[in-house]
């Protein structure tokens, strides 16, 4: 098997004295869509925050593209190509859709490529082009998620991490967003790490999956194999 794009070795992290992640090890293959599922409070968001540098790692390594990025500042991690679309979209109030998207490209100097990526985001989500002048936080929930993903694409990711794609959205919209992720992955080759509480959605989109329980990786495998696992079917799929 080829060298993974992201591989995490024995990572522990938390908030102050509170440890949330225990000895996490995982690998994300380049060019694929991988999902992390687990119940509320398992530590999925904390894991993404540790990868993107918002939360310090207590121990372990986070290898990305051949370098250990653990405990680098967020701007340097972003520059290596790891982009984190946070839970709850976190768009900037008072700024237009376009300004929000351009903030994704804050570190970039390649203006023509930025323009091209903006056009790409607008073809991917035409509604954002229609609404480009509008305050981004006045968009509907689904449109806000599109804007957040678009803002992520504007950062020119090698690895796009999305926290809770489906949170608070109607099934029809989740499906639409899932298709968009598949298209992004297919046309640009961007590797995607998707965090979801909604296991059915996650398994439909991703090829590989990891299950996190109380800060530990409990199972890994292809989503096909995982959805055949009786224990998982009972705990997460409700069948």
């Amino acid at each position: 098997m080829a060298e993974p794009l992201l591989s995490i070795e024995n990572l522990s992290a938390g908030y102050g004295d509170i440890r949330v992640l225990w000895d996490i090890s995982l690998a994300v293959q380049a060019g694929e869509i991988t999902c992390i599922v687990g119940s509320n409070g398992a530590g999925k968001s904390t894991l993404l925050r540790t990868i993107s540098g918002l939360v310090p790692a207590n121990s372990g390594r986070i290898m990305f593209d051949g370098a250990n990025i653990a405990n680098m500042p967020p701007d340097r991690i972003l520059a290596t190509g790891i982009v984190h679309v946070p839970e709850g979209r976190r768009l900037f109030r008072g700024l237009s859709v376009r300004d929000n998207l351009l903030l994704g490209a804050y570190l970039r100097k390649d203006d023509t490529a930025v323009k091209r990526d903006l056009d790409y985001v607008f073809t991917l989500f035409p509604i954002l082009q229609e609404r480009w002048k509008q305050d981004a936080t006045t968009l509907s929930g689904g449109e806000q998620q599109m804007c957040a993903i678009g803002r992520g694409i504007m950062s020119k990711p090698k690895l796009l991490m999305i926290d809770e794609l489906s949170l608070g959205l109607a099934p029809r919209l989740v499906e639409r967003l899932g298709e968009a992720l598949l298209e992004i992955n297919r046309t640009t080759g961007i590797t995607i790490l998707l965090v979801e509480q909604d296991v059915i959605t996650a398994f439909e989109i991703a090829r590989h999956g990891l299950i996190i329980e109380t800060g530990r990786v409990s199972k890994t495998g292809t989503t096909e194999a995982l959805s055949g696992d009786p224990a998982i079917r009972q705990a997460y799929l409700g069948v």
Binding site: D75, R90, F92, R93
Partner: protein, 286 residues
Amino acid sequence: MVYVQTLVNGIVLGALYACLAVGFSLVWGVLNVINMLHGSVIIFGGYLTFFAWHSYGIHPLFALPVVAAFMFLIGYVTQLLMINRVIDQPVLTTLTLTFGLDLILYNFMTVYYTATPRRVTLDLGALDLFGIAVPVDRVFGMVLALALTGLLYLVLRRSRIGRAIVAVRMDSAAAALMGIKVDRIYAITFGIGALMAGATGAIFAMVYPVTTNLSGTYLGKAFVVCVIGGLGSVPGALAGGIVLGIVESFAGQFFGPQHALTVGFLLMLILLVVKPTGLTGIKGYE
């Protein structure tokens, strides 16, 4: 006619207040720091401007950009080296720190310059507009104040740094995910606050006496303008400044100038009770 005169005086005063308060408001809005240094930095800017004029004959208009740039630098370094260390602490901690720094600057100026009021006297005379007299130096100050405030608005709205400041104000963790160095943006914002204070000092030196005795008064006015106009918003500071200017002007007319300040504070207290988001309701970002 006398009311029109009072109104015009109030508007001129209000423009000066907007410029006085806008940096304080920005720092409070973006960093959640109540910058107790603001009044003394205005006085410091005033002194530098006065001495440039008095000792070297440099016109305040030329001193202003240099004073402003110098204050930016001081503000930037102060935030980066000192305030950033406690920026995550409760607001009382940062307030105490800036209060301590203010004591140092205030006492330094009082000892070094003494409290003797000084003023740049340009002797420009007064304009007569249909029977309303406006001193030219005040009009000049108003134009400068509005120009600087407008410039700040444009920088925040249109520039890359401005977008980053707004992003940090709205959501600093999400801003960090954009690759924005949040502590640098804090330093730049505090620098801009000091820059506006220094520029205000340069403008005020042409209009008001420069004396450390006024530093608390200026700080208080910045406070009132923020409460009236809302935090961290340029249009809010402008609205708040003009409202305060007009209120003070009329209060001076009716109750005597010695009560103008009191009426301003009373207005603030009433607003705090009745409408804590500020008169304009602008929760804005610009």
